[in-house]
Amino acid sequence: MAKITLDNLAHSYLANPKSEDDYALKELNHDWVDGEAYALLGSSGCGKSTLLNIISGLLHPSQGRILFDGKDVTHAPTAERNIAQVFQFPVVYDTMTVRDNLAFPLRNRGRDEAYIAERVQEIARMIGMEDMLNRKARGLTADVKQKISLGRGMVRKDVNALLFDEPLTVIDPHMKWELRTQLKQLHHDFGHTMIYVTHDQTEALTFADKVVVMYDGRVVQIGTPQELFERPAHTFVGYFIGSPGMNLLPADVAGNRAQVAGHSVDLGAHYTASGKVELGVRPEFVRLSTTGGIPARIRRVEDVGRHKIVRLEVEGREISAILGESAPIPADVNAVHFAPEGINIYANDWRVAPNGKDAA
């Protein structure tokens, strides 16, 4: 296990990148703390897998360094880094038995057979495949194969880090929960550094201690699930996390008040913002009103079982509000209020910290 440091790291798939747009992964400095579980969250093509492959050594970065516990491994081959990685699509060695598949990484490192047998048994129990050990891997279903890949990733105890590249994409939803829980349990028991790439926010938020949100080749925020929810550092984080995502409205900010759709809104704190200024508020903090506020009109109500999502129109823009399942929706709603504690101010898509406070 090791602390992984990314130092000025960037990668481009082009031989001679000219502008910043040519980089699939923009310059990045970050420490992956030893023993933490991270989720790397972002939409497809934002550079998540690129970053993962650089850490595992399958890809060499165009610039910058990677350090494991302070030792430079930027140009070290994958084998030297002692990393385990599980891929999006199951990789099993078809002609081997399940047992040999699980033992393969250990055999390649020349561990003795007694240790291998014990480890394989342990892992088989963990992934629930003890009774299938002597079967050939060929002809198994995709989710069983993926369980074998996961098992192969976990069979080595001494790995520096465990990397997962959207490993549960091919797994049935009910199995997803089970495997994710097992992974979390495993992290809890053995304390490996884990990096889990996904584009599914639920998966990221339930798996990780820290979520790293990437957007367009850049890390836009690293934080706990709570921080991402309450204080999204970038409008993308607000939009991407939450269901539905954060509402954004253009605003003129002056001191502790903002002008939104011709109405003055209390921000609860003083801000200084310039450029393209927007007010972000999560649907959970939007309150319906019949007695004035920001003028709004209900377009439709979606009842999703646990709560209701109200879609409203404010100055031609759609915003959402979340109401309790049993909360009444009066027929004469004509405005909305925003709860001040749920308001964030963005300038040019980045969050502006209130004056006199650090960015939370």
Binding site: N53, S56, G57, L58, P77, T78, A79, I83, A84, Q85, F87, Q88, F89, V91, Y93, D94, T95, M96, F104, P105, N108, R109, R135, K136, R138, G139, S149, R152, G153
Partner: protein, 290 residues
Amino acid sequence: MNKTVNQKAWFLVLPVLILVAFSAVIPLMTVVNYSVQDTFGNNQFFWAGLEWFDEMLHSERMWDALGRQLLFSGIILAIEVPLGIFIALNMPKRGFWASFCLVLMSLPLLIPWNVVGTIWQIFGRVDIGLLGYTLDKIGISYNYTQDIFAAWVTVIVMDVWHWTSLVALLAYAGLQSIPDAYYQAAKIDQASRWAVFRYIELPKMAGVLMIAILLRFMDSFMIYTEPFVVTGGGPGNATTFLSIDLVKMAIGQFDLGPAAAFSLMYFLVIMLISWVFYTVMTTMDKRDGV
């Protein structure tokens, strides 16, 4: 429910029956017909029973040809299959050079058999051929018209030159179907180059390799044109393979009866060996699946 019985429906399969009869059954039955009769021309036939088969089974000449044939097929398979795999493994995976290699590899496959024979016949000649002349001048005794070993080497090298591409192209197609993730996973698992070949590449190539082996076996077992053009079966009978012997017998000596019996047995041997190949390889495949 009562099924409608209409025997007239049989007429619908008549066209295909006629087609198959004229294209396969009747020509084959002509051979069968010759194989059980004797003729001295003028369309006069005498019943001979299984006499020709008996004669052929006790003919040293046929057993010798069969032995040479098996040796030839065995040698070219033993060279072409590993060599083809080796070439496929070392071909570029993508880009300009991949296309370039593919075109280059296909060239020998596009050359007609007798042209290949002629190329090597001239190439190997000691008086005017580049290969033969060079070997002779650097002091290596090489003369495929007189030396048995030289004749075999020439015929085998020619076949390897002509057909290794086929094995390589099929193996290459098999390799191209392996997703990158397999190689990446193997790196993570610290698999050796040999393990990557043994557990990833070979299993993925197994299907196409089976086709390659079957095709190369059947083709080489029936080889006629190239050795006929280069050596004419000689020196002596050293490169007289089954087809060459058969043609000598049927057309050279006009022994139609024995030749017909010979071809039927020839046909059965090819079927039998192909069947054995196929069965062995598919059972190997199945055993893996359980």
